[in-house]
């Protein structure tokens, strides 16, 4: 009787302590710690310029991390996002140079190219039933290759000046880029969809067990298909954003970004096995990597060594839980062992 009571007490406490010691919280603590340490020890870190530079650099990864988190939660992966952004950028450049359309039409068509890339991935993965890892390695090469075919090794740079200034403009004196408003909006949409809609909750079920999810009425194929389409669309947006920010469209915009995005998403607590993860955690993961590398760069740590930080954080974030689990299991076992011994000793004297 007393045992069940303590059990429920432990459960109540663990709901709170889980929230405070969960992965999201740890990432948040780490982020706050990094910011505080950097503000007190790194010259020039504590300024509004930092906010601006940091955010403008982080935005592409932050945007791509949103659909990527959803895709990984359903136990799939998309390695082609950076190539999709590159293709979008290339198409945007060529359309602007050759078509004579208005820039807004060019931008819309470019984003639609991203959507088309997503549809292509989605069809191969959900309709044909191929593994997403293999498909997106293929489309990683294909989309980047098409970007080269479209624009060659040229650059298009004569985009309207106002758009570049707009992308780089800040809200008042806060240093926060104006574009950040749209980014926050997109993050909010993803957070609401994932955490507060049946569709989003279904994605977790899907990541845990495809069969179980389809038994409870989730249309597995359709859900995944839309995720890849959305991923393509967001990658298209990122392609347009990169083009405007750099004021240059080329075949190599965003190269290699897919791995940074995946690293940030996994660091943010999304399980590569699917079924686990949250949008706040992912945002924290992206900001943690971004802030840490920015602070170290300001502290004149060589550019080349920064990459170790990304890799180290990623490995620690995935190895630590299983090491912790192993230690907890040991402690639990020894406790059980002790209590069994404690029970069996009086038991034997009775008998």
């Amino acid at each position: 009787m007393s045992e069940t009571l303590t059990g429920s007490v432990v459960k109540v406490r663990s709901a709170w302590s889980r929230r405070l010691t969960g992965h999201d919280a740890i990432i948040l603590y780490a982020l706050v710690a990094v910011v505080i340490i950097a503000m007190s020890s790194v010259n020039y870190f504590a300024s509004t310029l930092t906010v601006g530079f940091l955010l403008i650099q982080v935005i592409p990864i932050l945007l791509l991390a949103m659909p990527m988190a959803l895709v990984i939660i359903t136990e799939e992966i998309d390695l082609s996002v950076a190539s999709t952004a590159g293709l979008t950028s290339a198409v945007m450049g060529v359309l602007w140079r050759d078509s004579g359309w208005d820039i807004s039409v060019v931008m819309i068509v470019s984003v639609l190219i991203g959507v088309a890339c997503g549809i292509f991935n989605g069809v191969l993965i959900t309709v044909v039933g191929l593994p997403s890892l293999a498909v997106t390695i293929g489309t990683l090469a294909l989309f980047r290759g098409l970007a080269l075919v479209v624009i060659g090794d040229q650059k298009v740079a004569n985009f309207p000046k106002e758009l570049n200034t707009f992308v780089l403009s800040k809200i008042g004196s806060t240093g926060i880029p104006v574009v950040m408003i749209f980014v926050v909006l997109i993050i909010a949409i993803f957070a609401v969809v994932l955490h507060f809609t049946p569709f989003g909750r279904g994605l977790y079920a899907l990541g845990y067990s495809k069969e179980a999810a389809s038994f409870v009425g989730i249309r597995v194929g359709l859900a995944k298909f839309w995720l890849f389409v959305v991923t393509g669309g967001v990658a298209g947006l990122v392609g347009v954003f990169l083009t405007l920010r750099l004021a240059s469209a080329g075949p190599d915009n965003g190269t290699g970004m897919e791995l940074s995005v995946i690293a940030a998403v996994l660091l943010g607590g999304v399980s590569i096995f699917g079924g686990k993860g949250s949008i706040p955690g992912v945002v924290g993961g992206v900001l943690l990597i971004g802030t840490l590398t920015y602070a170290l760069r300001l502290a004149k740590v060589p550019e080349t060594a920064l990459i170790i930080v990304t890799g180290g954080l990623l490995v620690i974030s995935v190895v630590a839980p299983s090491v912790m689990g192993w230690i907890n299991e040991k402690i639990r076992l020894s406790r059980v062992h002790k209590s069994v011994q404690g029970q069996s000793v009086p038991g034997s004297t009775h008998a």
Binding site: I137, I262, A305
Partner: protein, 343 residues
């Protein structure tokens, strides 16, 4: 009744051997390679001139060795994304060694390079097996870490082929029976590992692990040890490739081998090794590597816009996966029918 006897005849006769040969997953890839070479040399006869053929072989060599190592890992249902960084570290290490000890014997350099690669590969293997996290994540992390170590070690320093002893550079210039020496190394590696995977027990274990890790464990296979060994072997082969890279190419520095990992995975997948593990051969992986590296040469020889190259690689990867899917659906159907007949 008569159907079963013919079925038995089919299974034992030479016709069956021939048929299973043609059903192998390497055959479509090899066919594509041969077709590519024939078409290209018809359009441009100089494509198969001795000098150009030698260049083709030299270009394929390093990717072949990397693909063989990667195939070992992928067959166990893992993947090693850090090989580009490992290759860079070993290549730069080789340059450093020749610079610091100019008289060092070349075989020692090869052994040290392979040991260095093996150590880095083993770190991957230990992390993967102890953390029970997919290799994709771990090796993504070590890819960054190894590359970061290389970058801080190398800085902006580069070693050029002129800094190495001439005999070392000669390895990728001299030919034996028309084949460059370093390509002979690659051929030996392919045959040795191919034999190991086909006929040695621990090689077969790798397939069992890739098809179903849990079943393999129940069957008594030391899964963790085999997986670590696969990473070790992949690391050692990458180390070998790193040493050969230093011999073949003009310079090694902080960026050596950057982005190579996805090319190699692509070559392996094109060669018919399923990314989900358990199927495929290192011969297939090697043919895939030759195919992908030959395409570049073929496009130049036929004066196709060089910008098409990467898109074609993408199409090849996708068609390889598609073929793989069709083959596996067919064989599953065949298996169901034959099992039903036995019942």
């Amino acid at each position: 009744m008569s159907t079963t006897t013919t079925a038995h005849e089919e299974k034992t006769g030479p016709a069956h051997a021939l048929r299973s040969f043609f059903r192998g997953r390497e055959i479509p890839v090899a066919g594509a390679l041969i077709a590519l070479v024939i078409v290209t040399s018809v359009i441009n006869p100089r494509f198969l001139s001795p000098q150009s053929a030698k260049d083709l072989m030299l270009n394929a060599t390093i990717v072949i060795i990397l693909a063989v190592g990667q195939a070992l890992v992928i067959i166990t249902r893992n993947v090693d994304l850090s090989i580009g960084s490992i290759l860079g570290l070993v290549a730069f290490g080789t340059g450093t060694m020749f610079n610091a000890f100019p008289g060092v014997p070349i075989p020692v350099v090869f052994v040290l390079g392979m040991v260095f690669g093996a150590v880095l590969g083993t770190i991957n293997g230990l992390l993967v097996t102890s953390a029970k996290v997919p290799a994709l994540v771990i090796t993504l992390g070590t890819m960054y870490i190894y590359r970061g170590i290389l970058s801080s070690w190398a800085g902006s320093k580069q070693y050029f082929s002129g800094d190495n002893p001439p005999e070392f550079g000669a390895l990728s210039v001299d030919v034996f029976l028309g084949i460059p020496i370093i390509s002979i190394v690659a051929i030996v590696v392919v045959i040795a590992v191919g034999f190991f995977m086909h006929s040695v027990r621990s090689g077969r274990d790798l397939y069992a692990i890739g098809s179903d890790p849990d079943a393999a464990r129940l069957f008594g296979i030391a899964v963790s040890r085999r997986v670590i060994a696969a990473f070790l072997a992949s690391g050692a082969l990458t180390g070998l490739a790193g040493v050969l890279y230093t011999s073949r190419y003009n310079s090694v520095g902080a960026n050596t081998g950057y982005g190579l990992e996805l090319d190699v995975v692509a070559a392996v997948v094109v060669g018919g090794v399923a990314i989900a593990g358990g199927t495929g051969t290192v011969y297939g992986a090697a043919i895939g590597a030759i195919l992908l590296s030959t395409i570049t040469g073929a496009l130049t020889a036929t004066r196709v816009d060089k910008f098409w190259q990467q898109a074609i690689v993408g199409v090849l990867i996708l068609s390889a996966i598609l073929v793989d899917r069709i083959v596996s659906i067919r064989s599953a159907k065949k298996l169901r029918v034959s099992e039903a007949r036995d019942v």
